[in-house]
Symmetry: D3
Subunit: 232 residues, 6 copies
């Protein structure tokens, strides 16, 4: 079976390889900033993506959707591919702020076990989504609905908000942003995130006690070497 | 008396025909997305307009204001034209983010019975407006005040955030956006919105029970006809 | 010792003249809009700067930082210069939305007595910063971290979000925006703000009682002179 | 026959009342800035609209088109409604930068006698359009093509880039922007533009000779009254 | 040897598989819009990317560069990897408008045989680049230079302006935009583009002769079926 | 006489200290990028400022103007303060894209000896300005005119597009951007620019001959130290 191209239209892939569930659940304990650092500072979507409700957090294995501008037909096709623990990642082939998603689709996605939605477009029914506790990250909020007339794809690799997402990758989203962890390295990234977090707890305590980063990180010498001048 | 042009300067119309109050009150029960659909998918302002406080909702008959950049003189002229149940819709002749509205004007508008403000510009005193419970949708928030030196107009047709608003039209605003219902069709749109909402309640229940949109909306055949391919 | 140029790189000024603490504390009682008006309508940063948590308020004497794009080394240098009652004002030499600041630096800044941070760039650890009660105003939120490789400066004059900030100036930030009060006129601006606020209390009461601004400000005659026409 | 709503979908109006051809031809001699002033400073589209080639100029009677995002089906419907001397004004129901128009449609529009295109969306084949001498004003340039699947409308009132355009209105576009002159007042606006231009020729000569605007417009006294202070 | 991750830092791949030169040269004859259509409507970068000089055209095999914000060190590393017929595609790990490229680097790239540069950031020396005839597509123009302090990568897969580019892919850029053709399908896409262009020549002639698209594409029946109403 | 605050309203300073004319004329020979580097990488306005005609170049001593949104009254006040060799730098107290400047003012400015205009707002009469050969850099182009009703200032320090400009400073503008050289260091910056340019001529020749920057700048060792890995 041929591999679909990025953004190829008219294809639904049914059997995707999801990241290991245990690794996904471990990643769920970390923030997007920590995971991004643990991966070697890669994997983030662009910062224009924002949670529609402050304090949102989600982690899941990606079911990807490629939408056409102003058309959410593929969201219904995607619903059938969702399994418990998935998160839906929706890309659009053009910049279009329409509201592709609202409380009806959220009801369906939730019933299928989705952990949330990340969409490089608009959503609506913001209040209802908040009441349902279904977390959403989007580029826009718009009451304008969409039609169901043109094919996109489901579960092909997509570029969403500047990040490549393969179906099955782990996606972690919170107030700081959205990070994509390739399925193959999910466990290894969880390990690195855990180490990083342990180190930070110790640093936080020292900084709270008044130790300066200048001393804790031994920056005084490199700063002087770089030529920093103190004046009075 | 001649009809003012859209955006004509220097005119205040006193006797405007407001939409039927009963229709307005029925429209107040629906969200902007539902009303927009009920109208045949028209009437929305652009999605850059946002409530300054999440969870805001307002519905009223429009008193329109046309402002000049950096000048809020006409807001005071508009205050006198407000009647209980109105909502003020302010357009600006240029893109200018100044804060044209704050808690003093809000106190006055509220005393006159205004339900809220929609302004294609900036506002300030955000915290105070929240404490007063006066809902505002705007393009920007800015502490920068304005002057009172140049004439605009009140109660002429204006284009606000991409939508035409005639004085007396019903405007409904919430977290999803802002929709304008022409006065002449307010009752008819309320009927359509009610029907739509009734249908959605039923759909929501079925989707929550796990029925797929693919089946509920009978999409499988048209998708196949359009050429959607499932691969493994 | 020579005066550093605006945005000059590689300099840390240790002994800065802070605005009078009493004047700073009086300014802390007013909002940014009131202070901006009291200064003769000057001193505001651009409205794209927003608090990362609604309802934030901070007032302090400025410790300024000039950062290079994607590099937060100077934040650590700045920490050492913070004294209780200061607020950190960070400019970046280019538009870059990276997250220059997170909960570790906030812990250190707070331990030094900082009242908050204003940064013309991005920040991360939004939830943690909220939990700590450390107020931040920024241009962006981004999980993307920064490196520590290139020199900027501390306590030189900087232009942050369109406003000149000299170290020691008083900066007041709230939901409406951010205003910079030159140290030399802090007391005088506090006086003017107090007078303005007293006047507003009276006006608010009259407007709440239904008096129109048209009458309270005696606008009817100048409006007629400017040519405003009332039609029916 | 009922009047279509602004942005109503699925309607083509065949018999529209075009502005008087003589008035249109007189308006063709003036720039958009002059006409906007002559109309009382109204009627301009937003400044984000730009000619795709510098030095473009067009004037015609409006054939309006309402497009759906990512769909240019209605452009073909519009072609049939074009008469010599028309200009096509295309609005889109959502913000979407796709390329709705290229050299094939331009060939057809030109064969029908169109003077140019104004579109609140994207276009492509920029080089070919330049070679053909077919002037276009747009919001974006994009190689991305569109589909032909959903109905919009032709010759209904539309809001394009913030301006209301009724079919048959005169639209003048140049390097400075795009102005819409309602058909009913086209002759009267042409008169006013002519007067304004005559006045400007005289003023230009005096300013070139070194006369100051301060004296020519007698501004010194009002400036002094407004409180302008000269210092040394 | 392991495959580098997208956006992985600190790696230079020397031996990349370039698309077939004959296929590349055939693709050079087509515009970006035609190639995008020939590929099934995929592969375009975002429309914010613009040529710094109108009328630019370039086609080459991609040498990719990943830059850090405000740092162009890797551009020098990339120069060594350029072979005649290549085009350099530069991504930046953050949105930063600095001028990463000017006439000195262009001199070096040109000496190595580069056909042009596509950069998701800023460039400078615009006039000199025009005089040299070295075509550049960028997101911004900025006189602000960059430093050489932090590692990025060369010849790894990058996401540039929303498109995935693998080293060796063919990239075609012109006034309409930038399209990426995966190396493996370059010949096949050239075939499809040629067929498409042949068809268009015929269509253009018929449209120029006054045939309507409505008839040429047999749209009247589907439009009627979709419900289009003609009114008078 | 007291020093005006930045952005203080209602003041015209007549006797300003202009940078040395010889230094200004020497700076006129360099591009904005070279001067910015020669100053230690400071002094640039933001890159959203663009010449309205490609290929523009201007250098002059700054006459500064502070405008209110939608009001160009102070431009006429500024005209009187222009001396041959000056360049006008106009800031606006708010973001407002109106056209504050057109061919009449340009005629007056030119008659007074102005070298050009830099304005953090909009301009109009683009074609006429090109024909006159009067260079302009602006944030926007807009046919919308302004009023003459509110006071700004002339020849006070202003912040224009993110850069502080004191009256009398040298401003150099070209296709790459706009750089501000404080009057006191104009000669010294001209010296540094000259040195820099001499060095670049030599480097250009070597790069054109095929020498790599990697070798010319001796980057191979620091790259290896930083950890750059070459793979095959």
């Amino acid at each position: 079976m041929e591999t679909p191209l990025i953004n190829q239209l008219g294809v639904v892939k049914r059997n995707i390889v999801r990241a290991d569930a245990a690794a996904r659940d471990r990643l769920a304990q970390f923030g997007s900033a920590t995971i991004h650092e643990a991966m070697g500072r890669v994997g983030l979507m662009k910062p224009y993506m924002r949670p529609i409700h402050a304090g949102s957090h989600a982690c899941g294995t990606a079911v990807t959707v490629l939408l056409q501008p102003g058309d959410n037909w593929m969201m219904h096709v995607a619903a059938e591919q969702i399994r418990p623990g998935d998160i839906v990642i929706a890309a659009v082939t053009a910049e279009c702020s329409d509201g592709y998603f609202g409380d009806l689709l959220a009801t369906s996605f939730k019933a299928r076990g989705a952990q949330g939605l990340v969409i490089d477009g608009g959503v609506r029914d913001v209040k209802e989504l908040g009441a349902m506790g279904f977390p959403v990250w989007s580029k826009a909020i718009s009451a304008k609905g969409t039609i169901k007339a043109t094919l996109g794809s489901v579960n092909i690799p997509v570029i969403c908000a500047g990040a490549l997402v393969n179906p099955g990758d782990v996606v972690v989203a919170d107030d700081d942003g959205i990070v994509v962890v390739p399925a193959a390295i999910a466990a290894q990234v969880a390990d690195a995130a855990q180490k990083r977090e342990a180190l930070e707890t110790d640093k936080r305590a020292r900084l709270a006690a008044g130790v300066l980063g200048l001393d804790m990180y031994q920056m005084r010498e490199p700063l002087a070497k770089a030529g920093l001048r103190y004046i009075d």
